[in-house]
């Protein structure tokens, strides 16, 4: 049994929706996903073989299948693809086919970047360069690497809007010579625009400048996507896994102890309120404790040093590593301390809880770097209080107590605050962090009493 599968359009189409102006292409993603779901349902057939379209998109689908499928499906012969992440000529030129005469290709071959910047007819360009590219804009042979990208920049700068409107997508093709071993560090199922970290820094910088010239409003976003590519993140594959309901962990069972949490950006007064709430619970005769799931010591020092490696917009992919390390440290904290505390107390008040990780992940990375999966060990809180303070107020409070971390600036605190606000609703209450302490404390105690009353009605 051979199940043909048309690989869907990949992340490049997400980056550049204009590549999907063609109605046929625009519907391809939806159709492919439907095909995929149908195909996935057939995986129980032990004799099924899957034929996946070669290339990075097919590779993405195959990667999902290999990871997701029941054990017999993980045998290599059952998913046949051509793993050719470094030879995707044509895929990036979809737009060129629909907008002839406006595409630009920048090749990265054997360590040399060749940007061709004088328009030629397609056939002539193919003949001259021996490539299959739809449209090639040649430059003199003595211009290479970052210099040729500078040529491209100069050409595009004459009229950027024309190129941008036409859907020009400058992509550094990593290692276009198939006889060479791949050197660029990009995920096999993903390609950013820069071709990974193989090109020399000057060429990467020149490429970044060219992208910024074409798409100034999207330059930062594209930079972020490239860093995801370099860090091995394949949001396309992850998106497929989510669409298919793969990797959804079971919710942790609720412990006997009631869980309350105080969240908020730095400087919002969480610790003071958490301690006071625990004391109030103890005054009600309950065995109460406070806990922190963000630890200090060697962990904090190490992850902070790691984070500082991103200073000056270097190694931005380390933000994901930083989030993974912080989230997993909280998982370690759960096994070493939290689980036991929940077992021998009636109520535990957390100074930050999983919501803080969720806000930090999506706030920093604009997607969730596996916090929801890994933090599934934590039971859901019975109630979360979000102490909301304006960012300037938080920064003023932080400034009064100690040195600021890399996150304690108005932009990132604003992002975290926005993420926490978005989570408020049932089970999570926003409190005005600038209100008098007694007022918020009273509100917390009232809510806690309601939760306890529901749990143990008289």
């Amino acid at each position: 049994v051979s199940v043909p599968l048309r690989a869907p359009h990949g992340p490049l189409a997400w980056l550049f929706p204009e590549l999907l102006r063609d109605p046929a292409a625009a519907t391809a993603d939806a159709q492919a996903l439907a095909d995929f779901q149908t195909t996935a349902a057939r995986l129980r057939d032990p004799d099924a073989r899957l034929a996946v379209e070669p290339g990075p998109r097919g590779h993405a689908v195959a990667a999902v299948l290999r990871d997701r499928a029941p054990q017999p499906w993980r045998q290599v012969p059952r998913v046949a693809i051509t793993p050719a992440p470094h030879s995707f000529e044509g895929a990036v030129l979809d737009g060129a086919h629909r907008h002839p005469g406006t595409a630009l290709e920048i090749e990265h071959e054997a360590g040399v970047h060749r940007a061709h910047v004088a328009p030629l007819q397609r056939a002539a360009a193919r003949a001259r360069t021996g490539t299959t590219s739809a449209w090639v804009l040649p430059v003199p042979a003595d211009r290479a690497g970052a210099a040729s990208l500078a040529d491209a920049h100069a050409l595009v700068a004459q009229d950027p809007s024309t190129f941008a409107t036409a859907g020009l997508v400058p992509v550094l093709l990593p290692n276009a010579n198939p006889s060479d071993a791949p050197r660029a560090r990009v995920a096999p199922a993903w390609f950013g625009l820069s071709g990974g970290d193989d090109p020399e820094p000057a060429a990467l910088a020149a490429h970044r400048a060219l992208v910024a010239l074409l798409y100034p409003e999207r330059a930062l976003e594209l930079d972020g996507w490239d860093n995801l590519a370099v860090s091995g993140c394949d949001l396309y594959t992850l998106g497929l896994r989510a669409a298919l309901g793969i990797d959804q962990p079971a919710a942790a069972p609720r412990p006997r102890a009631k869980i309350f949490a105080v969240c908020g950006i730095d400087g919002s007064g969480k610790s003071t309120h958490a301690r006071a709430l625990a004391e109030a619970l103890a005054a009600r005769g309950l065995r109460a404790a406070t806990l922190k799931i963000y630890r200090h010591g060697v962990f904090h020092e190490t992850v902070t040093d790691l984070t500082r490696r991103t200073d000056g917009a270097r190694n931005l992919h380390l933000w994901r590593m930083e989030r993974l390390a912080k989230v997993f440290d909280s998982v370690k904290c759960y096994t070493s301390r939290v689980a036991a505390t929940l077992a021998d107390h009636d109520a535990v008040v957390f100074d930050r809880y999983v919501q803080t990780h969720f806000a930090a992940g999506t706030g920093r990375c604009h997607w969730d770097p596996f916090a929801r999966e890994l933090l599934a060990v934590y039971p859901p809180a019975d109630h979360v209080f979000f102490l909301d303070v304006p960012v300037p107020t938080a920064l003023a409070r932080i400034g009064e107590r100690d040195a600021r971390t890399v996150d304690e600036n108005s932009y990132m605190l604003g992002r975290y605050r926005a993420m926490l606000l978005a989570m408020c609703g049932e089970g999570m209450t926003r409190l005005d962090g600038e209100a008098p302490f007694a007022e918020n404390h009273q509100h917390m105690c009232h809510t806690v009493d309601q939760v306890l009353q529901r749990a143990h009605p008289r």
Binding site: D67, P85, P182, R185, V186, A187, P188, G196, A229, V230, S231, G232, I246, D247, P249, A250, A252, V298, F299, E301, T302, D305, L306, R309, N315, H317, L318, M321, L324, A325, F328, V331, K332, Y334, T335, S336, A339, F370, E373, L374, A376, V377
Partner: protein, 145 residues
């Protein structure tokens, strides 16, 4: 201070300080996650191992640990064996304190057993790991032991 680190999936000798053992916080956390049905890409597990080794090494520096240290796996070999093309392994390795590494070649089945004990799964190819560890040893001029 140069730390002496022994890479050996077979296990730590009695006189060694085991950095990432099966009774460690790291392994316990993976067990708890697996019990909840948590599934993350293999590269996440391998990245976290690389970070864990870094943190434990820095902890040893802070504690002025004088014993020979032990870790079951070498992160760079894990990433190759896990077919992780894009990774932060180089950056993490660059943050290691000075190391004098020794190693022991171990059969793939032992590697697999140790990996399952540590991660609760097998996020890399144990045979590829055994090969790549030997390559790392040659490149790093590690002493066999």
């Amino acid at each position: 201070v140069t730390l002496a680190l022994h890479i050996d999936a077979q296990g730590a000798a009695a006189d060694m300080c085991a950095l990432i053992a099966e009774d460690s916080e790291f392994a316990a956390a993976w067990r708890a996650a697996r019990e909840r049905g948590v599934a993350v890409p293999s590269e996440v597990a391998l990245h976290l191992y690389g970070y864990e080794l870094l943190e434990r090494l820095r902890d040893c520096v802070a504690r002025q640990e004088t014993r020979r240290l032990h870790a079951p796996f070498w992160p760079a070999a894990l990433l190759v064996a896990g077919d992780v093309v894009a990774h932060a392994g180089d950056v993490l390795a660059s943050m290691h304190p000075p190391l004098r590494v020794s190693w022991r070649a171990v059969p793939a089945d032992v590697v697999e057993q140790r990996a399952r004990g540590l991660f609760g799964s097998l996020p890399f190819d144990p045979e590829a790991y055994a090969v790549e560890l030997a390559n790392c040893a040659v490149r790093g001029r590690w002493a066999p032991r």
